[in-house]
């Protein structure tokens, strides 16, 4: 018989080891899944987990995909630490892209270095406002931010559909439901900074914000209050932390981060607004946040791993006729394993001997 015994102290080793274990187990169990699907497992695992990090072309895509994931996950992690569950980042991503994109389209034909920053501000505001709706309803009416933020994803998707068929549709686009291409228009296109790894201006912004988040959480009193609210809401209240402020801050910041990510995706990889513009980054970022242990450095690493599975998944779709959904299964599996292994942090497994 095995039994679990609570540790005196949470294990630091396991805290860092469990994400690695989760990824490795996903590779192993995923291999079995491929066998079941009749696909050579070795080659598929190589394409999903190794090739994205060695092939030169794939490397040039790495941060194109990793930057939005990391940026969104960074925002979410601050909320998750405080026990504020924003799971509607996908909606905030869309609204950010719409707000920023609308500014870019309104200024179409104008030139100037200030256009892109202005769009970024609009996107951050758009995402933040969309995130503040659940915050307001939580504080004022006690409504679950989980359900409200998720419902708003569907509202945002429909709103996007309406906008690309309506006011934001390209006038010279022959009636296709899509906007003008902001990525091919000099003043609104996101400049590349380090193309070998796919780091563009959005990637640089992400790295700066991630550093700020690191200092906020580790060194600033506010970071301490956020963590305290998550660990012990009662203690936090006695210490004078106002829950309303924390909720507003967490949802506002994560909304702004997701909105920014939406704009970078729009002006970088996607180029234009279409109905299929959102790629599910808002949901995958939840996995990134957990896999990265809600810690900025961990999130950076986790974002790179999951970006790799996105790139590898696209290649495997093309080369092995692997269905697109296989990657989603892998991502879900990774989160399952991670959550399962987490028990090793607070408990140790002991063999129970029966008393004679």
């Amino acid at each position: 018989m095995l039994r679990l015994e609570q540790r005196q102290q949470p294990s630091k080793l396991m805290l860092y080891l469990t994400p690695v274990l989760a990824v490795l187990t996903t590779m192993a169990v995923g291999g079995l899944l491929f066998v079941a699907l009749g696909i050579a497992p070795g080659r598929a695992i190589y394409l999903l987990f190794i090739d994205p990090f060695v092939d030169r072309y794939n490397l040039s895509q790495l941060f194109v995909k990793a930057s939005p994931l990391i940026l969104i996950a960074m925002g979410l992690s601050i909320g998750f630490r405080a026990g504020v569950w924003n799971i509607g980042a996908e909606g905030q991503f869309i609204m950010g892209a719409l707000a920023g994109g609308a500014v870019g389209l309104a200024l179409w034909g104008m030139t100037g270095w200030w256009i892109l920053p202005l769009m970024a501000v609009a996107a951050a505001l758009g995402g933040a406002l969309w995130g503040l709706i659940p915050a307001l309803l939580k504080i004022r009416f006690n409504a679950s931010e989980i359900l409200v933020s998720l419902m708003l994803v569907y509202v945002a998707e429909n709103f996007l559909a309406q906008m690309v068929q309506g006011v934001l549709r390209a006038p010279d686009g022959m009636g296709f439901p899509e906007s003008r291409n902001l990525g091919r228009n000099e003043p609104t296109a996101l400049p590349d900074v380090f193309p070998a790894l796919g780091i563009n201006a959005g990637g640089v912004t992400m790295l700066v914000l991630l550093t700020l988040a690191f200092f906020l959480l580790q060194k600033h009193a506010l970071g301490f209050q956020i963590k305290l609210t998550g660990d012990s809401p009662r203690a936090a209240r006695f210490a004078g932390v106002k829950p309303g402020v924390i909720i507003t801050l967490c949802l506002g910041v994560s909304g702004a981060a997701a909105g920014l990510a939406g704009l970078f995706e729009l002006t970088g990889a996607a180029g234009k607004l279409t109905i299929d513009f959102p790629l599910g980054y808002g949901f995958t970022a939840i996995i990134v946040a957990f896999l990265g242990r809600l810690n900025p450095v961990g999130i950076l690493l986790a974002g790179v791993v999951l970006a790799g599975t996105y790139i590898g998944g696209e290649n495997a779709q093309f080369m092995l006729k692997l269905p697109a959904a296989a990657v989603t299964v892998f991502q879900g599996m990774m989160l399952f394993f991670l959550l399962g292994f987490e028990i090793l942090i607070n408990y140790r497994v002991k063999r129970l001997r029966r008393a004679v």
Binding site: L4, L37, W85, I87, L137, F141, N142, A143, S144, I146, L147, V148, L150, M151, L152, Y154, V155, N158, F159, A161, Q162, Q165, G166, F283, I286, I287, F290, P323, A324, A325, A326, V327, T328, V329, F330, Q331, G332, M333, L335, F336, L339, G340, E342, I343, N346, Y347
Partner: protein
């Protein structure tokens, strides 16, 4: 505008059909929550039920076996959540999200060869002489068996929770798991069962979407119905009968916005498609606003992990 094409009786019949997947998923989640488990994986269990039900029905040719397959699929996938949360003490919110993501992916993978196939027809239950009776016959006797079953299930859940010893024990686990444990009940096992019941109901609801509502298999076809079901449980204040009320109200909104779209009303379709989600938010706000009442109705141990110290 011509509203005469909106026939009240036909609309009620339609709304009950639209409400049934939500009703099934919500009554299952209600039982899980009554035992103290918040399972946010309803959407994932539903989509798994939709695909397993569809595959079973098209391969066997029997819609009834399809519904059973959907319920089984939902129950099986829910054991992942049950094992992780009950025996490995993982966070229920995060694990529920993982279940939804995993379910959506796995369903798409399983159903990739089933796009564009028509499932066998689910016939309505004919009651000789009564089903053709005008108005009342149509209102009461024009449905398929699953709709009757869903209403029966709500009654059965009410009876179990409020009139049986087993129901009392299950509620005790949700209200105070330490007390239930010290009386000698196996909290984890009871919760495991409640989660699986929730999974089976969600799976059945999902199968109803792919076999009756649409009827076809497409990726992500449950489109947030599972999340609406979670909101309905809050709306119902964890009371089985109110789940019917909430689900039928949502069915009504869905049918109304669809008929308005079909009428070609001047409001654009995308705005009308938002309404069920916006109404969900409004309902949540109204039901949660009274903090005192909300906290009396919600199971006290909802979402809290239980670990026996000895």
């Amino acid at each position: 505008m011509d509203f005469s094409s909106l026939n009240a009786v036909a609309m009620i019949v339609l709304l009950i059909g639209a409400a049934t997947p939500i009703l099934l998923a919500a009554i299952g989640e209600l039982v899980a929550e009554k035992s103290g488990v918040l399972n946010l994986g309803v959407e994932g269990m539903m989509i798994i039920g939709a695909v397993t039900g569809f595959i079973t029905a098209t391969t066997t040719g029997s819609p009834m076996l399809g519904f059973a397959g959907g319920a089984l699929g939902g129950a099986l996938v829910s054991t992942l959540f049950a094992f992780l949360t009950q025996y490995l003490h993982s966070n229920q919110v995060a694990t529920g999200l993982a279940l939804t993501m995993f379910g959506l992916g796995l369903a798409a993978l399983m159903g990739r060869n089933y796009n564009g196939i028509k499932p066998p027809r689910t016939d309505r239950l004919e009651v000789p002489g009564l089903s053709d009776f005008p108005v009342l016959g149509e209102l009461l006797f024009s449905y398929d068996p699953i709709i009757y079953f869903s209403v029966f299930l709500v009654f059965a859940v009410w009876w179990f929770l409020n009139r049986t010893r087993g129901g009392l024990v299950l509620r005790a686990c949700g209200e105070n798991h330490d007390a239930a444990h010290s009386l000698g009940y196996n909290v984890q096992l009871i919760r495991f069962g409640a989660i699986m019941f929730g999974g089976a109901c969600a799976g059945l609801g999902g199968a109803y979407v792919s076999l009756v509502r649409v009827p076809q298999w497409t990726e992500g076809m449950t489109a947030g119905v599972g999340w609406i079901a979670l909101a309905i449980v809050v709306f119902a204040s964890w009371k089985p009968w109110r789940v019917i009320l909430g689900a039928y109200m949502f069915g009504g909104i869905t049918i109304l916005q669809l008929s308005l779209q079909a009428l070609g009303i001047s409001i654009s379709g995308a705005y009308l498609s938002m309404t069920p989600y916006i109404v969900t938010i409004v309902v949540l706000v109204i039901m949660s606003a009274d903090r005192k009442r909300a906290s009396i109705n919600a199971p006290a141990c909802l979402g809290r992990s239980f670990h026996a110290s000895h």
